[in-house]
């Protein structure tokens, strides 16, 4: 045992945070090995060292019963390093014991930042695996909530948890997820999004797996028969499979009156269409289909464009790219400087560009409507998909006017129709059409009205009875 500890000491000699402590108990020597950054020094001093010094030499073999810790296990020699990196203290006596003494390195449960809601819970996931799992378990107090643990990443050995409701989940889906996770061959994962590449559909701008920082959203998804993946050190949890319509829903929808939610969902659908088609429609009517707008408006548009030296497409591209640059800088900047960037970019630059005759006022309106409509959705992946399709539609509209938009729409529709999320159709419940599922698609009925689960996700379709 002594030789092995010396070997470890030699291995980590360049690191100052690995502690190798030798304690003499009678004639016997006990070695304590741990990483001081990953372990709680209070715990090490108060609960291990204090108690260990009182232990007699004859009791060393019975150490497992003497030191109190819920998470204490006897491990093999080769597992010692891994456990040390997980925040365990390794005690080398006749056998090797690992005692959990993790330091609290996370920021605790904080408020939601990116998926804000007016009503409902405000707690968000953090970087701590156990906290995240706890936030879900507090909501679903059922033995059927399974959290299978695995490790991913050769160097990072990141803990991931596959969460599902054993009485609801579709077995084929679960197996598919497990099989895909097995194919992951990577050095390390820093965030849940690293797993997306292996689990998501390729060759599409649209997200087929959603990620969320809301525990209530994950709980809802699990009760629907979906599968969630928690990744240690990631404040986002992956939910799969995901349908396009899921992006038009927010958790807020389930905390407010259904009649109001139906209206908001129609607005979101319009916003989705406006975000993709507004600049394309403007380009089509100002470069091809002049007949579609009344003469007064046509003359007004011409008056606004008279000083602009660029073709309409270039003008639209300049504005769109400027907006994306502004948005990107706004995200990266701290909140104090961010507002200054917004004022400079949005107000001063916009006004100056119009005055200088580089951009027409109507183009600013068109791009602003399109960009703001896109930002209705909290999913950054969907916003990116919208952005790509906006550019595609703009180019097609410039090339062929309304015919180009029609062609683009057909391509977009076929693409979405063929798209699958873990083998399930992305346009569900519209294609294939399911009448029962329409109760929570665009029009929302009372939560009591949704008696059945999504048949694609669960064989156990009947929900619990409401009293």
């Amino acid at each position: 045992m002594e030789n092995y500890v010396k070997k470890l000491e030699k291995k980590f000699k360049l690191n100052g945070d690995y502690i190798f402590k030798k304690i003499k108990i009678g004639r016997k020597t006990v070695y304590l090995v741990f990483n001081e950054v990953l372990t709680s020094s209070d715990y090490v001093n108060d609960f291990i060292l204090k108690r260990l010094t009182k232990v007699k030499a004859k009791d060393l073999a019975n150490l497992m019963n003497i030191l109190p810790d819920a998470n204490m296990k006897e491990i093999k020699k080769e597992e010692a390093i891994d456990y040390m990196h997980k925040g365990y203290i390794i005690i080398f006596t006749q056998n090797i014991i690992a005692i959990e003494a993790k330091a609290s390195l996370d920021r605790g449960v904080s408020a939601i930042e990116s998926e804000l809601s007016i009503k409902g819970p405000k707690d968000a996931f953090s970087e701590n695996f156990n906290t995240n799992l706890g936030l879900i378990r507090r909501r679903i107090k059922s033995a059927n909530l399974i959290a299978e643990r695995e490790e991913v990443g050769k160097s990072t050995k990141t803990s991931i948890g596959i969460l599902y409701m054993s009485d609801i989940v579709n077995g084929d889906l679960l197996q598919q997820v497990k099989n895909k996770l097995k194919t992951i061959d990577i050095d390390g994962i820093m965030d849940a999004t690293y797993l997306r590449e292996n689990l998501e559909a390729h060759r599409t701008f649209f997200p087929t797996i959603s990620s969320t920082e809301r525990p209530d959203k994950v709980s809802m998804a699990l009760l629907e028969g979906k599968i969630a993946i928690i990744v240690d050190m990631s404040p986002y949890v992956l939910i799969m499979p995901t349908f396009l319509i899921d992006y038009f829903h927010t958790v807020d929808d389930y905390y407010q009156k259904p009649i109001n939610i139906s209206f908001i969902r129609i607005i979101r659908l319009l916003a989705f269409l406006m975000a993709i088609f507004t600049p394309a429609f403007y380009l089509a009517v100002t470069t091809h289909n002049f007949d579609l707008i009344p003469l007064d408006l046509l003359l007004s548009l011409k008056a606004q464009r008279e000083s602009v030296p660029f073709p309409a497409l270039i003008e639209a591209m300049i504005m769109s790219i400027s907006f994306e640059v502004l948005r990107e800088s706004d995200i990266r900047m701290s909140s104090t400087t961010g507002s200054a960037v917004s004022i400079l970019g949005g107000l001063i630059l916009g006004d100056a560009a119009v005055s200088a005759g580089i951009i027409s006022p109507i183009m600013i309106i068109v791009i602003a409507i399109s960009a703001i409509s896109g930002l209705v959705f909290p999913s950054i992946e969907l916003v990116s998909a919208i952005r790509w399709w906006r550019f595609i539609m703009m180019i097609l509209a410039t090339m062929a006017g309304m015919w180009g938009i029609l062609l683009g729409t057909v391509i977009l529709f076929i693409h979405l129709y063929l798209l699958k999320s873990l083998g399930k159709p992305y346009l569900y419940p519209f294609l294939p059409f399911n009448k029962l599922e329409q109760k929570d698609a665009i029009i929302k009925v009372n939560n009591r009205g949704e008696k059945y689960r999504n048949p694609l996700l669960s064989a156990n379709r009947k929900r619990g009875h409401y009293r």
């Binding site: 100002t286 470069t287 091809h288 002049f290 007949d291 003469l295 046509l298 003359l299 007004s300 548009l301 011409k302 008056a303 606004q304 464009r305 008279e306 000083s307 602009v308 073709p311 309409a312 410039t398 090339m399 062929a400 006017g401 015919w403 180009g404 062609l407 057909v410 391509i411 076929i414």
Partner: protein, 170 residues
């Protein structure tokens, strides 16, 4: 699948039925004047050029002339003489010295065009008045191309100039 996508692309882009035009390079014609001397039609196209003035749009006008044995030929000639692309799909008024010419008006011109009879075409066209002013002036006497095609015995309002002002008469 890819072949299926190529087909509509080819149909749209290679058939030549689409034409890219920049709004700035387009002459929006709002009024057409038709006259005839001997056997030649003389066409005058009045382009409305919007100019951005403070908080409103002001209008300037530009004229293109063309001659031909038919109205279409004369329109083509006027288009050829213009430095910009001529846009005739939103013409609002047609002024003719003789209502008989209206029988030869090309079918692609909108049926909602308001008709006027004039004597001195050139003088009336060059008075700074936009199409809205003329249509308001005619009020209940207005007759559209569609109405005239249905019943060519209907009277087309007559415009004349009196002290630099336009007057409408039946």
């Amino acid at each position: 699948m890819k072949k299926l996508l190529i087909l509509p692309f080819i149909t749209i882009f290679l058939t030549g039925c689409i034409k890219y035009q920049e709004l700035n390079n387009m002459a929006i014609i709002t009024t057409i004047g038709i006259d005839k001397s001997e056997n030649t039609y003389e066409i005058t196209l009045k382009e409305t050029i919007p100019k951005k003035a403070e908080n409103k749009v002001a209008y300037e006008y530009k004229y293109y002339k063309g001659k031909g044995e038919s109205i279409e030929e004369a329109l083509q000639d006027a288009s050829d003489n213009a430095s910009k692309d001529i846009y005739l799909r939103q013409v609002q008024n047609i002024m003719v010295t003789n209502p008989q010419f209206l029988k030869k008006v090309p079918s692609y011109l909108k049926n909602s065009i308001v008709l006027f009879r004039v004597k001195n075409l050139d003088k009336i066209l060059r008075i700074n008045s936009n199409y809205k002013y003329l249509n308001n002036l005619a009020k209940d006497k207005t007759i559209t191309l569609k109405q005239y095609k249905k019943n060519n015995k209907k009277k087309i309002p007559y415009i004349k100039v009196y002290k630099q002002e336009l007057l409408i008469k039946n």
